[in-house]
């Protein structure tokens, strides 16, 4: 179920190895995997089929680019097509020439309208200096008005409601109130409704008719299945949707509904809801979304965090170590610590492809990491620099010193050896030279041109945890990944990270579709989110 696409591909693409050209025959199996991945992600089946055909037309007959594995070339094409489908990224809300700007929020029951209304109000006030008014027009659901009132109070944003009025009346008066109170944005929180409920859909049309909203936003639960397409179609027919917000993206839903929404409405996906807190509203990034739908995970997010937390010199040093091949246990420890600084293991892992749902099954708690570190610290510096001196009696001593079994030491050494092996191979392949600015950029775009970041972060974790507990899914494929998938994986991932962090242009900014400045905003938001992290 939660295999990553990259992983599926490693077997599906056996037929591509060594081929000079992509043909109908040799991509067939790969296309089937793409389709299955899309369907598992809840992309509407018809769109999935169209998409696969489109990719087929694009790639068949393409000559294999020298120096690029055909598999990678194919994955790239798939990803690029999906990005194209979901872009362009545009989170701009329409602003009224004469205030107030009216924003109508609509959607099915429980989608997250009320919560998102509050989130948007906060966003508009804090980032755009607006003075919002919230209008509580859900008179159907018990305590819905109270819910918005509580949120408004927390935010210190006024909330309008008047008893005894119909929903369209409440909205119309709300807009008038905004003018009177000098609020320049009005957000209308409406009751949830099914697209087949004619009466309520009519009511929605009436609200729109009486308030002329400049923005008509459909709020959709990211977990929605195949039906997303139908409901979106009806909402779009009855209203004039201008944008979509996908909520509950903080879980492991792959969010294929996004494809349906784009296809039906043609409206941009404005924001993503990424939690229950009022500040959990994120910008939408087509590349990330494409990676997620394909089962490749939020690799970009992980890289962004890494960039914030690991200093460049440190990463460069780690990278050079590996390239120079003088990798020791000392370096391995340093890298583990570097990795841990990214945050609690659960969180870091959650950002990796397909890991969300595995959190509970895989024992990757921080205690385990502590035990691992304890093994290192029970070694003498000489042992860490010269692992070859670790004979049985030393191993027993280390085990005792860290309160663990000798087998734990053996596992550690096994991982270490595997990693060293990977690095040797990476070296041989001249990875340092190969990973130019372009590769870095592509990797950061979430695709990983060579799948290497995905491949290697998986390898890293595989290496660290491969010893005990169930195996984490690895991410084979890719040039460096090719080596990684051979052995139990290793710290190659940090090599990839290290390379990206060490010098060169900051790749995020070079993404063509992203507006300048949005990266910074995004980052700040992430930081904030994390501070409150853990407990909600």
């Amino acid at each position: 179920m939660f295999e990553s696409l990259t992983q599926r591909f490693s077997s599906a693409f056996a037929s591509l190895q060594g081929k000079k050209e992509l043909t109908d025959d040799n991509i067939e199996e790969g296309l089937r995997e793409v389709r299955a991945a899309l369907l598992e992600a809840d992309v509407h089946f018809q769109l999935a089929r169209e998409f696969v055909e489109n990719v087929r037309q694009r790639v068949v007959g393409q000559a294999v680019v020298p120096g690029v594995a055909p598999t990678e070339q194919f994955v790239h094409a798939v990803h690029a097509a999906l990005v194209e489908l979901m872009g362009p990224e545009d989170s701009a809300l329409e602003v009224a020439k004469s205030p107030p700007t009216v924003i109508l929020m609509a959607g099915l029951q429980g989608a997250g309208k009320t919560t998102t209304t509050a989130k948007l109000a906060r966003f508009l006030r804090d980032k755009h200096g607006r003075r919002p008014l919230l209008v509580a027009a859900d008179i159907k659901r018990p305590a819905a008005v109270e819910q918005l009132t509580v949120l408004g109070r927390k935010l210190d944003v006024p909330v309008f409601h008047e008893e005894g009025l119909t929903a369209p009346e409440v909205c119309a008066r709300g807009v008038a109130q905004a003018k009177a109170r000098g609020c320049d944005v009005v957000l209308l929180d409406t009751a949830g409704r099914l697209h087949i409920d004619d009466e309520l859909m009519e009511e929605l049309a009436e609200i729109a008719g009486r308030t002329n909203p400049h923005n008509q936003v459909l709020v959709v639960d990211a977990m929605t299945g195949q039906d997303a397409i139908r409901s979106a179609q009806v909402f779009h027919d009855r209203l004039n949707l201008t944008g979509v917000i996908l909520t509950k993206m903080d879980g492991d839903a792959r969010g294929g509904a996004a494809v349906s929404l784009k296809a039906v409405t043609g409206c941009p996906i404005l924001f993503l809801g990424t939690g229950e807190k009022i500040e959990d509203l994120d910008a939408f990034h087509a590349e990330r979304m494409a990676g997620r739908i394909l089962g490749m995970g939020d690799v970009v997010g992980l890289v962004e965090e890494a960039q914030e937390k690991i200093s460049e010199t440190e990463a460069q040093a780690a990278y050079e170590k590996m390239v120079l091949g003088s990798f020791t246990l000392e370096d391995m420890l340093a890298q583990i610590r570097m990795f841990r600084r990214l945050g609690p293991m659960k969180k870091v892992l959650g950002m990796l492809p397909g890991m969300g749902g595995l959190m509970d099954q895989v024992d990757v708690d921080d205690r385990k990491m502590n035990r691992l570190e304890a093994l290192f610290t029970s070694m003498t510096p000489r042992e860490r620099l010269h692992p070859e001196v670790l004979d049985m009696s030393r191993r027993r001593r280390i085990a005792r010193g860290s309160g663990q079994e000798s087998s734990a030491v053996n596992e550690l050494l096994k991982s270490f050896k595997a990693m060293k092996q990977v690095m040797k191979q990476m070296n041989k392949m001249g990875l340092g030279a190969k990973l130019g600015a372009k590769a870095k950029k592509n990797t950061l775009k979430g695709l990983s041109k060579d799948g290497e970041l995905a491949a290697d972060s998986g390898g890293l974790l595989g290496g660290l945890f491969g010893g005990g507990g169930p195996k984490l899914p690895g991410f084979g494929g890719g040039a460096a990944g090719g080596a990684g998938s051979a052995g139990p994986g290793g710290l190659g991932g940090l090599g990839g990270l290290g390379d990206m962090l060490g010098g060169g242009p900051r790749p995020m900014g070079s993404s063509a579709t992203r507006k300048s400045g949005s990266k910074r905003k995004q980052k700040q938001k992430r930081k904030k989110g994390r501070k409150g992290g853990g407990k909600r």
Binding site: D227, R230, K248
Partner: protein, 305 residues
């Protein structure tokens, strides 16, 4: 013409094609061939059956080649049988007798799936059956969650135990059980805050509620019901797996089946986890809760409109 426009055009066509359903597939005396089977597979996908759709059609195709499945009637019968086979038997589903006194039912699920409304409907149902019902507002997190439950409780004239926003949900659960014990209630329905199954700390919070109840009274909670949003797709399977792993779910309620979504993920949930479905929710008012009936459910999934 961009890819999108093309997709859009195709979509309009599909929808009308779909509306004719399985009957449409066979209309005009079409022979049962690979193309038809492929279209059937797609038809099944609209019900959120996921990869089960592919499995079913592959099986049909095999049996077609062996001559066991010939035309529309065979296909319908075979689909129906296969899907029914994926669900627990009729007597394992639907309403059960709750005879512990009091019977404690913990209701869990992701955000907005319909937990509070389902509790309201259950309270109403049990109350109408002449049982003494107490509800506990253990969602102390979401704004006005307890208010929502209280309004429902008032409407169906059942008692509620609630605390302030931010209170320990396990403490509310404990107090509700204690109150029910002392005052002799028959059924305690505990509403919990929505949580995504991937949120470890929140799943731990749920385990704590479970533990506290068990300590207070042997065997409690007697039932743990997972409310699934019927409009959800394949993610519902993951929800069922992880909630079951955390708190031993004993039954499922599928809400929001009054729309056009079919809730096909239920097949994987019952099949893979062996969980029975107790009720389905078919609307927003108190009486719109029905005991689950496997045959009716399969017929609804296969019906196309």
């Amino acid at each position: 013409m961009g890819l999108f426009d093309r997709l859009k055009n195709r979509l309009t066509r599909t929808r009308s094609a779909l509306s004719d359903g399985i009957a449409g597939l066979f209309s005009g005396g079409r022979a049962m061939d690979d193309t038809l089977l492929a279209e059937l597979e797609e038809l099944l996908y609209t019900s959120d059956l996921g990869l089960l759709a592919t499995e079913i059609v592959e099986d049909l195709s095999r049996r077609h080649r062996r001559g066991e499945v010939r035309g529309e009637d065979d296909v319908r019968a075979s689909l129906r049988a296969t899907l029914l086979d994926r669900l627990p038997a009729k007597e394992e589903c639907g309403e059960i007798t709750l005879d512990a006194s009091p019977t404690v039912i913990l209701v869990v699920g992701v955000n907005g799936s319909g937990k509070t409304t389902s509790i309201a409907k259950l309270a109403h149902r049990f109350h109408t059956q002449g049982r003494q019902v107490l509800v506990g507002a253990c969602d102390t997190f979401r704004a006005a969650a307890a208010d929502q439950l209280e309004i429902w409780a008032d409407r169906s004239d059942v008692q509620i135990v609630r605390k302030d926003e931010g209170a320990d949900p396990a403490a509310v659960a404990f107090e509700a059980l204690e109150t029910a014990d002392v005052l002799g209630y028959d059924i305690v329905l505990l509403d919990t805050a929505g949580r995504l199954h991937t949120q470890k700390n929140l799943m731990d919070e749920l385990k704590k509620i479970h533990r506290v109840l068990g300590k207070k009274k042997e065997g409690a909670p007697h039932e743990v019901w997972l409310v699934i949003d019927g409009t959800n797709g394949q993610n519902a399977i993951q929800q069922a797996k992880l909630f079951t792993a955390a708190v031993e779910v004993t039954g499922v309620i599928v809400a929001k089946l009054d729309g056009t979504a079919k809730g096909g993920a239920v097949f994987a949930i019952t099949h893979e986890l062996g969980l029975p479905v107790r009720y389905i929710g078919t609307g927003e008012s108190l009486e719109l809760l029905e005991p689950f009936d496997p045959e009716a459910f399969v017929d609804a999934v296969l019906a196309t409109d």
